[in-house]
């Protein structure tokens, strides 16, 4: 049995099977990316926050665009070479295509990596600050120029990013059914490192067999271990099982009796009177223990990622319902390099309430608490005035002679980005960089080492001021969410397509010799897919980088 029209096209349709299939597949891909692009439009039009415009570095994106377009051309050349029967030329062009794909992914990887290390935080007053997090320092260390020995190291000898919730635990109460084992191990290791002990607070006494006396499952003072928790969980599950089945049987019996006693009555008429006789059942039930309490002696500092914990002054709850009793230490978020101060959202919210932008900015927590921000803002206002004068000269005023025809954008007015801060550093503090450092900056973003704290200062934000914080990741806002989703999916398509093309390049020789036409068909289909990948990028590039 042989499937027809794999190599030669069918006469009346003029097509080979795989050509039809790839066009159909691409149609569905159009619908897939169409869904994402529609989502982009929908989210952008409906955004209730200042949509970040032109925040991504254009240069790498532009280079990537040309790389992809170039590879789309070379893949056609490769196909033509096959049609002409020139294997060597096919190798060269296909090699270039795959290499282009690799360069594309490397650039993309660098771009992603930069984003994943860039922290952003929104304060309760909707001020947004961006920058790089610092690492926890020992008391008295120089925050601007910490030396290697100044850092607090965790038990693995690593620096601790200053974005952790620190709780001095005195007691830990685990939910027996659903404690998260890796977290328990983490606490054990932390306690061992701090030379403290986590011990059972009270005896665990449970009736584990129907009608028997309670047995002591664990004694007070027994050290915490996964085995111990596992043992209690096992007993608890057995008890739940036993009790549930007893209660079910009892309820069944009650219903039977109630129905026999009240023929003709509907279930919902009887329901309120049918109850399990708990008193009668009591002696047969096993003990249920839903939580176990451990003491930490001496109290030890545990660190948690903000997302894992709901912190409180005296006790905090982890996502697996573990309750940590103990005081929360100050857990500020510390920017070692603050590289953007953004009041756009704050102004937007202020205008909604009828408050003037100036008042709102002046009253913000940041302006009140940071000398640097006040200075920078004053400089920014002066510079904005100059910028406006330039605009006035160029575009003039409207008929009333007062209102300028062209004004600064919302972003120019209320956001100090890293380039602005850089400019300010040069103007007021004499920070200059040039040469390689400058080129690197153009490409990869601010150069913190070269510019130092005069340009990008140190800022500590108390935890209670922070409303939402994230790296420049999908969690930060819907812009980054859709950016990472579309470019990530596109990247997967690039990788998939490149792997197929690479397969043709490496393993195609045999088929090229035995059935060159079939092989050329395959490369053509692969090339069509490659064009599509290119096309998606041509849509993605302007909407994320330019608009």
């Amino acid at each position: 049995m042989e499937i027809p029209y794999i190599v030669k096209p069918r006469k009346d349709t003029g097509l080979i099977n795989s050509k039809i299939a790839i066009w159909l597949f691409l149609a569905s891909e159009v619908m897939l990316f169409g869904g994402f692009f529609s989502a982009y439009v929908y989210l952008r039009l409906g955004a209730d926050y200042p949509w970040p415009e032109r925040t991504l570095p254009v240069l790498p994106g532009l280079i990537n665009t040309f790389i992809l377009i170039g590879s789309s051309v070379t893949v056609v050349f490769a196909w033509v070479a096959l049609k002409l029967g020139n294997w060597r030329q096919f190798q060269i062009y296909m090699g270039i295509t795959v290499a282009c794909a690799a360069i594309f992914m490397v650039l993309k990887g660098i771009e992603y990596n930069v984003k994943f290390h860039h922290q952003a935080a929104r304060l309760h007053d909707y001020t947004v600050v961006e920058g790089h997090l610092g690492y926890e320092l020992k008391d008295g260390a120089d925050t601007h120029h910490p030396k290697d020995g100044d850092y607090v190291l965790d038990r693995n000898g690593k620096k601790i990013e200053e974005n952790m919730i620190r709780v001095v635990a005195e007691k830990v109460t685990f939910a027996v059914k659903r404690f998260h084992a890796p977290w328990v191990s983490e606490m054990l290791a932390e306690a061992e490192h701090a030379k403290s002990e986590i011990k059972l607070a009270a005896d665990i006494k449970m009736v584990v067999e129907e009608g028997n006396e309670p047995v002591t499952l664990a004694k007070a003072g027994e050290p915490l271990s996964l085995d111990l928790l596992g043992k209690i969980r096992k007993a608890q599950l057995a008890a739940l099982k036993h009790n549930a089945s007893l209660r079910t049987d009892a309820l069944r019996l009650e219903w039977k009796e109630a129905k026999d006693a009240n023929p003709g009555k509907k279930g919902w008429q009887l329901a309120s009177d049918v109850n399990i006789d708990v008193g009668a059942l009591e002696p047969r039930l096993l003990t249920e223990v839903s939580t176990v309490e451990f003491t930490v002696d001496p109290p030890t500092r545990f660190l948690f990622k903000p997302r894992d914990i709901k912190e409180g002054a005296a006790s905090s709850t982890l996502r697996d319902n573990t309750i940590i009793t103990g005081a929360m230490e100050a857990s500020p978020m510390v920017f070692h390099n603050l590289d953007a101060i953004d009041f756009q959202w704050l102004v937007m919210k202020a205008k909604e309430k009828g408050i003037s932008p100036e008042t709102a900015i002046a009253n913000s927590w940041l302006m009140k608490n940071s000398e640097f921000v006040r200075e920078a803002w004053a400089w920014h206002l002066v510079r904005n005035e100059k910028k406006q004068e330039v605009l006035n000269k160029r575009y003039g005023f409207k008929e009333d002679g007062k209102t300028p025809k062209q004004t600064l954008t919302h972003k120019e007015l209320y956001r100090l980005g890293w380039k602005d801060l850089g400019e300010m550093g040069v103007e007021t503090k004499g920070v200059k960089i040039g040469g390689v450092a400058k080129i690197k900056e153009e490409f990869m973003g601010p150069n913190y080492k070269a510019r130092g704290e005069k340009t990008f200062p140190h800022l500590s934000v108390p935890r209670e001021q922070i409303r939402h914080a994230a790296k420049f990741s999908p969690a930060w806002n819907t812009y980054y969410a859709i950016y990472f989703t579309i470019t990530g999916l596109h990247g997967l398509h690039v990788i998939g397509g490149a792997l197929v093309l690479l397969y043709y390049l490496v393993f195609g020789r045999k088929m090229f010799l035995s059935n060159p036409e079939w092989f050329a068909n395959r490369v053509e289909v692969g090339g069509l897919f490659w064009h599509f990948v290119d096309l998606v990028w041509i849509f993605a590039f302007p909407i994320f980088y330019l608009m």
Binding site: M1, L24, S28, W183, N243, N477, T478, A481, F484
Partner: protein, 635 residues
């Protein structure tokens, strides 16, 4: 197979023609034969349907007897640990009910009916009917099945995880679905996430399948099989393929975005300022749109209805001509209708969203298109009905189901008309009326059509008829019970029963009567008047379950003990699948297939039989000229 042996010239096929050499795992498990894959789809889908049915029975218990423990004949399937976790003193809890409800819908739609209609019948019958040796991409076909199976297993496996299976309805609306299972530390192990992973796999499977189907239908038609000689079944599969191809990807996009919301904490579908009782202000960026999810979901969701429906109509359209011995009435108008139906189904989706406040203009647009789409549907169903007129009807088992399909689907369709209007939507939205409407379409409608298909093609697949007696024992109670279950839903819906009441309205009844002791609350009265229907409907469901037992017996026992077919064409039908050996071997046809005429040439006056198969070369050429119509097209 011998016809192909001649064309053997060496290089590639050591694997195909020699049946006895195909090892078991390759023939029955990792098969690339479209017929075996079709059967794999069919069996898997029926197992999922049975499971979905079981979930429904538990739900119906909870609705009818909300205060009573689940009886042992239903709960024995669970382990004691599971019961302790998910039942309260043996009673179904709201959480468990939600879980079962969400999974009932998901399983029935994505894992049951689509694979049975499109995957099983489509795979088995389509290549046979167009005279092809197999699908255009047999390996892709195999992958398509396996991805479907893995997706389904992943979804159902979540029943046994700490979080339980998905609980946010089969529509999985955010933000509810975004928050569900938030307490699970490793989000990849939450039922709600598994649902999304499973869904992405099912979509991938459907996409591969639809690419394969469309390519096969376009390029692998036999000599002489022109477009207007395609059986209606094939047309329906072609349109279904396009619906899957173009409607599923936006849901895949939505699924991926919701997955991002869950595991990368993005806010695609989470609006600003979300506040929950248990967690307080959500630690999310906000700025997303729950409505976006609904748009993307229903952009799939509505074409999906036709993905479910078309294979069933397709089966019925094959069975009616064969059992009335007359051509399908209005074949061309049916074909054009199904094409228009396919197109229109892409622009009606927001009629599921009248209550979201999209605005009057948008609602009006979708109301108009929704009313428009009823026209092609009515043309199709009318053509099927008129096809019965004047025929000499043979009430074979498949014909019973096909005949029942027409009125049952008719009720389903007509009850949908009021729902097309957004004003009526105000009253009926999310009530049992909606449930009754679409279950009439899907259960006694589509499922009956598919049952008809099973009885119709069973002799081709196995070489034996299914038992006539057991067919009747299956059919009549099913017909009665379906109506017992679903007709009261229409009444209850109008009386204000909400579709998500896990206790069948009982709690609402208590509260409402307590609040207005004089009974002034009109819904308290209507609920009180209709609440006992719950028990009637639940009995209907249980009897319906019993009524499926004869079918299962019939399906397995007739395989070995049924009456043998007399010929390869037991129903004396005209389409190409009956020209193959019984059962068809790998490669399907034993002769060089050529097609000479349309698909439904029954009772032609110039033919001495009452059927004139597509493949029979005309032996009495009209006018003395040899018939060259088979040379239309290619070669």
């Amino acid at each position: 197979m011998s016809a192909h042996a001649a064309s053997h010239d060496g290089h590639d096929h050591s694997h195909d023609d020699h049946h006895h050499e195909i090892p078991f795992w390759k023939k029955y498990i990792f098969s690339t034969d479209h017929k075996m894959i079709g059967m794999q789809y069919g069996i898997t889908a029926m197992l999922f349907l049975a499971f979905g049915f079981y979930l429904m029975m538990v739900m119906r218990w909870s609705i009818a007897y909300p205060h009573e423990p689940l009886p042992e004949w239903m709960s024995w399937i669970f382990t004691d640990n599971w019961k302790a976790r998910w039942l309260l003193d043996g009673k179904v809890t709201g959480e468990t009910y939600n879980m079962f409800g969400a999974m009932h819908g998901t399983i029935m739609v994505f894992l049951g009916i689509v694979p049975l209609g499109f995957g099983a019948f489509g795979n088995y019958v389509t290549p046979l009917q167009i005279g092809a040796v197999d699908m255009a991409f047999p390996k892709l076909n195999m992958f398509s099945y396996w991805i479907y199976l893995v997706g389904g297993v992943i979804m159902c496996a979540s029943f046994f995880m700490e979080s339980g299976a998905a609980k946010s309805g089969w529509t999985n609306y955010s933000p509810l679905a975004g928050f569900a299972d938030g307490q699970i530390v490793n989000q990849w192990l939450a039922g709600q996430t598994q649902w999304l992973l499973g869904l992405v796999m099912l979509i991938t499977s459907s996409l591969l399948g639809s690419v394969n189907f469309i390519t096969t239908i376009i390029n692998l038609r036999a000599r002489g099989m022109t477009w207007m000689r395609l059986p209606f079944f094939v047309w329906a599969m072609l349109v279904t393929g396009f619906l899957l191809l173009l409607a599923f990807p936006p849901l895949e996009a939505a699924g991926i975005m919701q997955l991002m919301d869950r595991v990368a904490h993005s806010s695609f579908f989470m609006p600003s300022g979300l506040f929950t009782k248990s967690d307080g202000l959500a630690d999310l960026s906000g700025g997303g749109s729950p409505l976006l999810f609904q748009h993307l979901f229903w952009f799939l969701g509505h074409p999906e209805v036709y993905v479910l429906l078309l294979p069933a109509i397709a089966c019925v359209a094959e069975i009616i001509p064969a059992n009335t011995r007359k051509p399908l009435w209005g074949y061309k108008s049916m074909v054009y209708s199904v094409l228009i139906l396919g197109f229109l189904s892409f622009i009606v989706w927001a009629h599921h969203m009248y209550m979201t406040g999209m605005g009057a203009a948008v609602s009006t647009f979708f109301q108009t298109t929704t009313v428009l789409i009823s026209i092609p549907s009515v043309i199709i169903i009318t053509a099927l009905l008129i096809s019965l007129w004047g025929g000499s009807i043979r009430f074979t088992p498949p014909m019973l189901w096909a005949c029942a399909f027409i009125p049952m689907f008719g009720i389903g369709g007509l009850t949908g008309l009021p729902l097309a209007f957004n004003l009526v939507g105000l009253h009926l939205h999310d009530t049992y009326y909606v449930i009754g409407h679409f279950h009439y379409v899907v259960a006694p409608g589509i499922l009956f059509g598919l049952f008809a298909g099973v009885y119709h093609w069973y002799p081709k697949i196995t070489g034996r008829y299914m038992s006539n007696f057991l067919s009747h024992v299956h059919f009549w109670p099913s017909l009665v019970c379906m109506n017992i279950i679903f007709f009261p839903m229409l009444t209850q819906g109008m009386a204000g029963f909400h579709r998500r009441w896990y206790n069948g309205g009982d709690a609402y009844l208590d509260k409402a009567t307590a609040a207005t002791a004089d009974g002034a609350n009109v819904f308290a009265n209507t609920v009180a008047q209709n609440i006992d229907l719950n028990i009637v409907m639940s009995y209907g469901a249980w009897i319906l379950a019993v009524a499926q037992i004869p079918f299962i017996i019939n399906l397995f026992f007739s395989w070995k003990t049924g009456r043998k077919v007399e010929s390869d064409n037991p129903w004396n039908a005209t389409t190409l699948e009956w020209a193959t050996p019984t059962p068809p071997g790998h490669g399907n046809f034993t002769f060089d297939v050529a097609v000479y005429r349309g698909p439904y040439e029954y009772s032609r006056p110039d033919c001495d039989k009452d059927y004139y198969p597509q493949w029979e070369a005309p032996n009495k050429p009209v006018g003395g000229e040899p018939d060259k119509s088979a040379d239309k097209g290619h070669h």
